[in-house]
Each structure stands twice: as structure tokens, then as C-alpha cells.
Amino acid sequence: MNLNKIFKNALLLALACLALSACAKKVSTGQMQGDVYTGTDTVEYLASGVPDRVFFATNESVLTTKSRETLRKQAAWLRKNSNINIVIEGHADERGTREYNLALGERRANAAKDYLMTYGISADRISVISYGKERPVDSGSNPLSWSKNRRSVSVKAN
């Protein structure tokens, strides 16, 4: 094995982690930035090149740069397909109380909805539903699994 290369990669990862505040202790997979999931394991596509979901930091509903990029793709696709309506499902991870997580899921779904609306998608084409922590995509009890579950997913409604 090329130990030199492995060492170099590890060093790069370590440097990348140093640059991100919350990363240092928890994450070594390269699939998270801070504690926001950046991988594609669970992502499905509304159309080619249009991811169906965006991910959130713990307890947050702020859209990351990458999330906004994903949502702009969704907006463009929705503009092209004006007969399609969507439901945005908001989700939380299992590390919160059930009732608060229902509210948090609703807040996340609406963050996505609001962003789509600023890109010209009419509110009456978008409904939202919060599942709180009731419908995880990944059943694991670890930071990576939790990051995949903190999400809002746009689903075709018709």
C-alpha cells in the first residue's frame, strides 16, 4: 500500500477539519461539513440533476450554500413543469424531544418553501408537512446517520 498517499490524504482531511468549527471531534467520513450532511447516499432525484433534499445542522433551519443551490435547481425544474405541485417534508434527527422536533421539521420545510418562493414558485404549488423525528431514512444512532435525517425533502404531489 502506498502509505505516503494515505498519510497525505489524512493530512488533507485533518486540514479541512481544522477549517470547520464543529468538525474536529466527530467527523472523519468526509460526508459532513460541520454537522451538515454533504454526501449523496440517501438523495433521490426529481429529475436528472435535480436532488430532492437538503440537509440541516443540529437544531438549525438555516439553508447552507449547497442547499440553496439544490433548491434553485428545484425551482428551475418547477418553473419548467408548471403542472407539478410538491409537498415538502420536514424532518429532524432522533436527538430531540418529539414535540419540539415536530415544530423544527415544520420550520425546516418552510425554510425550503420560502426559498423556492423567492425563485418564483407560487405558494399554492407547495404544501409542507412535518414528520419531526418519526420518519428517519437512516436508523443509525451516530452523528452521520443523524445528519442524513435532518432534512427537508421535496416530493411530487401529483
Binding site: T97, R98, A103, E106
Partner: protein, 446 residues
């Protein structure tokens, strides 16, 4: 359906003797009181008739086992092994030989007698102070035979009350969410059972997701969240008739419901455009009132027992904390200031404490604090647990706990647990399936 049975209770002998035995429930009890629960005696005629009806060999012994298990689980009593009993049940009930009971170190003795006549079950029992060689209580009940477990619970309540000076919590039920299936696609049903895990009934079929059921003060109605037709809304269910209805006409998700202490209102959260606020709806005239109006999440409201105040959960400070306010929404005051996040506040039936869930450094705690936020005490720490609900006497909390899912995707479970306010006597509560979101009823016969 279960409240229809008429339960007649009367004092056998009005007797007000001074009891030497006393049980202190304000501290963790490391020396539970040794108590002998003699099987209740049963004449052969009643025995054979009851056997036909109830399919139980010896209902007298069965009732005593219900009492014994209740006493044991309270953590305050140590029921002695029946093998060591020297006196026969019928003779002991008539006139105990106190030396025999003292010999096996019993400090209290329970005896009783069961008879069956006119299609009714008649149960009498006596509580004896062994050291003082005195009867300290005697009661009899008449009810339908199928109610035999309840008789055991009521007897336990009477004994508990006589020896601790406080009301019991044994003739009560728990409503909860029964869970089955894989974690990513859980099937959830409303379920109701006796406090000791028996007589489980399922109130929904599992076709839609249901969460957070809570009793009304008379235990006949339940308010809960259902995803019926994929619209998460607060519902009201009449347990006896099975009739369900949506609470109010809100253009969005309603959740986190509870009854007001007088049972006339439901208080809940309504989420719209990314903001959850607290509302009430009066059941009789459907008048809706907005209680909070804040761009943060306001949820998990719970009334004080006098109905004058509401505690609730809000992240208006940036993170989940506990607040109290007057019931009209004025005078909002934050009361949780410890390290970590706080959720699910629920006001004690005694009025003096608020139980909560706390998340700190990756661990979940069930704790209590006074209503001014002082005197925080954490009762139990675990990987995940939340949603405490008080026993009607305010001495015990029931909550649910989830275990970790390992890297193979195994190990997950959700179970009900109880713990005394003292932080002692933590116990798994038996349920037929996995379970969450427990809510404790008030005393059924009070």
C-alpha cells in the same frame, strides 16, 4: 367502558386506631416495610362459581398477588414470601396469631375474604399492625367479577394511603403509543392499559401515525396527534364510544395537545409558515384563543393544576428552554437556566414542581425543578429518554426511553420506565410491545 362498573365501597368497622407503622415516602426508601399479604380466603362454592366465570383457579390468591406486586413495585414495601406463612388465610382473616407473623418479621399483615353471591364479587380485607397486635383498617367492596384486578388495585391504594398518609396511584391506567416494526417505518397505535401492564387494549389500528395521547381529568377522553389523511392534527377520542374528531379548524399542523385541569379546553401548538405558537380551544363552543405570539417555536404547553399558569417550551432565547406565563399568555418568564437544552415541561399535580427532559453533552435526563426554576434535580440519565408524566399523587414519573441502534442497525427499542421523585426505584414498565409517549390517568375511583 371501564368506568361503567359500579363499585361499592364501605367501611366494615369504623375503626380509628393509632397506627404504629408509618412509611415515609419523601426519601429514597432503602428499608422497605416487611409486609405479609395473605392470600384472600375463598369458600369452595364461590371458588367453583368464580372459576367458571373468570377461568382462574383461585381468585382470592390472584387478587393478593395483584396487591403484592403493586406494593413491591412502589419500592416502599417488601412483601414476604408466602411459603413462610404459618396461618391459613381464613383463620388469619378472622383472628391473626400475631406471634406467628412477627416470627417471620412481618410488620404489617393483609388478610381478606372473597365471596360470590347474586352474581357479584364481594371482597373484604383487613390491614393489621403486627407489632401492636391491632387491626388498623377494614374495608369491603362489591363489584362485577371481571373487575377483580381493579379490586386489587383499590385495596393497594387504601393500604398505601393508610400507611403513607398520601393518596395512592394503583387504580389508574396508562395511555401510550404502542410501537412495532423497523425504525424507519414504525407502526404506531394508541394503547391503554392498567398501571401494572395488564388489560391492554388498542384504540387505533396503526393505519396512520399517532403520537402524544393525553387523558382528560375524568379519563374518558383522550387528546392526541394523528396523521390521518397525512394531515397532522390534534384529535379528540371518546374512549367509551370510540368516536374521534378533529380539534378545531386550523390551516396547518396542530400538535402537543393537553387538557386544561377542568377538562373544558385543549391547549396545543399550531404551526404555520415555520412558526409554532400556543393556542387553546374551548370544547363546548369551539372558541379558539391565541396564547403566544412570537416568531420562535412555542410548544409542549402544560397547565398548573389550578389552571392559572402555563409552562411551555420555547427557543426564543436561541435554544429550547422552559418558560411559564399566566394562562392568558401574559407575564412570560424563563425559568430554566442550567447548562443544556430543556423540553417537555409538565406541571406536577401537587403544583409545586415542573418535570422536564434535559439534553446536555449528548445525554438525556429526566428532572424536576420548582416552578420558579430553582432547585433543579436530575433523576435519571440515559442515551435517550423524554416525556415524563406524573402519577396522580405526584410521587412517581413515567417516561419513555430509547436504546441506541448499533452499526448493524440493531439494538433499537423503546420502553416505558418509571422512577420515584426521590430518584430511586427506577423500573421498567411492562408493555406488550415497544412503547412511548406515556400519560398517566388520575385515580379511577376517587
Amino acid at each position: 367502558m371501564f368506568l361503567r362498573y359500579i363499585l361499592i365501597l364501605f367501611l366494615l368497622i369504623p375503626f380509628n386506631s393509632f397506627a404504629l407503622i408509618e412509611v415515609d415516602i419523601t426519601r429514597g426508601n432503602l428499608n422497605p416495610l416487611p409486609i405479609a399479604v395473605s392470600p384472600l380466603s375463598l369458600d369452595s362454592d364461590s371458588k367453583s362459581k368464580l372459576k367458571t366465570i373468570l377461568k382462574k383457579d383461585d381468585i382470592g390468591a390472584q387478587i393478593s398477588i395483584v396487591v403484592e406486586n403493586n406494593l413491591k413495585k412502589s419500592g416502599l414495601f417488601n412483601p414476604l414470601n408466602k411459603d413462610s406463612f404459618l396461618q391459613k388465610p381464613d383463620i388469619a382473616h378472622f383472628k391473626p396469631r400475631f406471634e406467628d407473623w412477627a416470627l417471620i418479621k412481618a410488620q404489617a399483615l393483609i388478610t381478606g375474604k372473597v365471596t360470590f353471591s347474586d352474581e357479584k364479587l364481594r371482597v373484604e380485607f383487613r390491614l393489621w399492625d403486627v407489632l401492636a397486635a391491632k387491626e388498623i383498617m377494614a374495608l369491603a367492596f362489591t363489584t362485577v367479577p371481571s373487575n377483580w384486578r381493579r379490586v386489587g388495585h383499590i385495596i393497594t391504594d387504601k393500604i398505601y394511603e393508610r400507611l403513607t398518609g398520601e393518596k395512592g396511584y394503583f387504580d389508574t391506567r396508562i395511555i401510550y403509543v404502542s410501537e412495532e416494526g423497523p425504525k424507519i417505518k414504525r407502526i404506531k397505535k394508541l394503547a391503554i392499559m392498567d398501571q401494572d401492564g395488564f388489560n391492554t387494549k388498542y384504540l387505533t389500528l396503526g393505519n396512520e401515525l399517532v403520537l402524544t395521547p393525553r387523558f382528560n381529568p375524568t379519563n374518558q377522553m383522550v387528546t392526541y396527534l394523528s396523521y390521518f389523511r397525512n394531515l397532522p392534527r390534534v384529535y379528540l377520542l371518546d374512549i367509551e364510544t370510540g368516536i374521534q374528531e378533529v380539534v378545531g379548524d386550523f390551516p396547518g399542523m396542530t400538535f402537543a395537545p393537553r387538557f386544561s385541569p377542568d377538562g373544558k379546553k385543549i391547549i396545543m401548538s399550531f404551526a404555520k409558515d415555520g412558526n409554532s405558537d400556543i393556542y387553546t380551544m374551548e370544547l363546548e363552543n369551539r372558541i379558539v384563543e391565541r396564547i403566544t405570539n412570537h416568531p420562535s417555536i412555542d410548544t409542549s404547553p402544560s397547565y398548573s393544576p389550578d389552571g392559572k399558569y402555563i409552562c411551555f417550551n420555547s427557543d426564543r432565547s436561541g435554544y429550547q428552554q422552559i418558560y411559564i406565563m399566566k394562562s392568558d399568555g401574559s407575564n412570560v418568564k424563563r425559568i430554566s437556566f442550567g447548562k443544556g437544552l430543556y423540553g417537555t415541561p409538565v406541571w406536577s399535580p401537587r403544583g409545586d414542581l415542573i418535570a422536564f427532559t434535559k439534553l446536555h453533552k449528548g445525554k438525556f435526563y429526566i428532572g424536576v425543578m420548582r416552578t420558579n426554576g430553582k432547585g433543579e434535580r436530575l433523576l435519571t440519565e440515559n442515551f435517550y429518554q423524554e416525556a415524563p408524566s406524573w402519577s396522580p399523587n405526584g410521587r412517581v414519573l413515567i417516561f419513555y426511553r430509547e436504546t441506541k441502534t448499533d452499526d448493524k442497525g440493531e439494538g433499537f427499542s423503546a420502553k416505558l420506565w418509571s422512577i420515584d421523585l426521590t430518584g430511586y426505584n427506577e423500573r421498567l414498565v411492562n408493555t406488550e410491545t415497544d412503547a412511548s409517549d406515556p400519560s398517566w390517568s388520575s385515580l379511577l375511583s376517587d
